[in-house]
């Protein structure tokens, strides 16, 4: 993939950060507004995919980036499991125990552990989709 014209590159440079910000907003407000880890993770992956499509793959050292995204994926799912078993440390023998204090519903810091779950699911989904896309792109340029 060669990359597109300078117009597309400039517009992408302006917008991809804001798309990333929007994805983070969707993830963080998953317990208040429609959205959550899945939708936000896919939008975050979309911002990176936009950069790769616009700038071409020579712009990034992609092999390294693919390893990093796989690493993030593993870290995300591991933290998710760790939080799920986290009740054991507080001597509560329930898997997926909502162990943080609840707070008042409707605030950003509420719903106990659900926002934290959302963040880790967002990391996992974003890394998974990014590595799927990069695998296809690298496979295409291989031979």
């Amino acid at each position: 993939m060669k990359g597109m014209t300078i117009i597309v590159k400039n517009v992408t440079a302006l917008l991809s950060g804001l798309i990333f910000l929007y994805g983070c907003y969707i993830v963080l407000h998953g317990h208040l507004t429609p959205g959550g880890g899945f939708a936000g993770g896919i939008i975050i992956a979309g911002s990176f995919i936009l950069l790769v499509i616009a700038n071409g793959i020579q712009y990034f050292r992609l092999n390294k980036e693919k390893e990093e995204s796989s690493l993030f994926e593993g870290a995300g799912i591991f933290c998710f499991l760790l939080l799920a078993t986290g009740g054991l440390f507080l001597a509560v023998p329930v898997f997926f125990k909502n162990l943080l204090p609840g707070g008042t519903p409707g605030e950003l810091l509420s719903a106990g552990i659900i926002p934290v779950y959302n963040i880790f699911i967002g990391i996992e989904v974003a890394a998974a989709l990014l590595s799927i896309f990069l695998a296809f792109v690298i496979f295409k340029t291989e031979d």
């Binding site: 014209t5 300078i6 117009i7 950060g17 990333f20 983070c24 907003y25 605030e107 950003l108």
Partner: protein, 164 residues
Amino acid sequence: MRAINVLIYFLICFATWLLLTHNLGWQNLVAGSVISLLTTLVFSRYFNFDVTKMINPVRWFWMIIYIIYFIWQCVKANFDVAYRVLHPAMPIKPGIVRVNLTLQGSLARTILANSITMTPGTIAVDIIDDILYVHWIYVRYLDHDRYAYRISGKFERILKKIFE
């Protein structure tokens, strides 16, 4: 210049966060600054435009004039294209023309190309080495100076006042 760019990018991100959330509670402000910092860390390296000139208020004044002029051009072009589509004989003569750009700076060129694209009837195809390729629905002149003035002359003059 680099540090100012990063700072301006952070402010843009934070303003976008506030516009998205509509909430001034302390939790929201802390979350917004953390997310904006993260975005700045990852994406500010792609934001390398020269933005220090934009502090001058005269340039903002010209930007307002540019927006008004652009909307006026857009309305005129809309009626023109609607006339061409609805006319039974369909008086179109499409073609791709080359326009030599006198404008420097990639951000200004991007805005110029996007303005040309958003005006109905013309589409900016590509920019290769100071030459802008434009697809035009009715190629009126074959002389370079005349069609260049017709397509991008006024736009370019105002954009020069904004960005240079």
